[in-house]
Symmetry: C2
Subunit: 141 residues, 2 copies
Amino acid sequence: MFELHPQLQQDCLEIGRFRLSRLLLMNESRFPWFILVPEREWVTEIYQLSEADQSVLVKESSTLARGLAEAFSGEKLNIAAIGNVVPQLHLHHVVRYRNDLAWPAPVWGKFTPMPYDKDGLAEVVARLQAFLPDAFLWSLA
Amino acid sequence: MFELHPQLQQDCLEIGRFRLSRLLLMNESRFPWFILVPEREWVTEIYQLSEADQSVLVKESSTLARGLAEAFSGEKLNIAAIGNVVPQLHLHHVVRYRNDLAWPAPVWGKFTPMPYDKDGLAEVVARLQAFLPDAFLWSLA
């Protein structure tokens, strides 16, 4: 039975589900930062997924990425599977701006997160939702 | 005509070619650090590739990743498309160890690279070459 890693449960908000992956929002209000977690047990690296799952993952990632580009109009997306701290495979998608706090450095491990307030959370979710195609299952937690 | 970004030319050594992507070795001897660059002009994000190219890219990435896992026996792979400094789409693959210089932080933007000497370069390339399947074009530059 797949279970989300406790650290991801603690740091993130579950905001939707794709066919393969759960969609999380990192609870860090200073960066539009989303995470896909394929619902597969014991997998820590992309290459450990079946070829079919890898193909679905890249599609889900690109659907999310295109939605993020349209919804948040960043200068760049940063997409990464790191997992040095949380080994459960998870794929970061961070919208970056030239005037953001960390630019041009990556955001990982740099800051203590500043959580969303209720309005900020609703806004960021609604903003993405407007740009995700209906074909992808999207159920607000 | 596709041309490798000058910064990648400067920081990396071209060590092979897959069907879609050039395979570069980051000239930083303290981390086994490889980069795939799809030979497509003007592409800065994975989602901008055609679906067929995205599928090839994930296959090439996973072939490389599996080879790296076998050749270098790291604790974790870090795979990332960042591009805040060099916008040309390129996919980092870094083998990480619990006792490496940066663990558990990511390696990007942290250190001034320490280049390989001739023997070190030959060794790292031979080590990976032994674990990459023949089906993938591999021509030492």
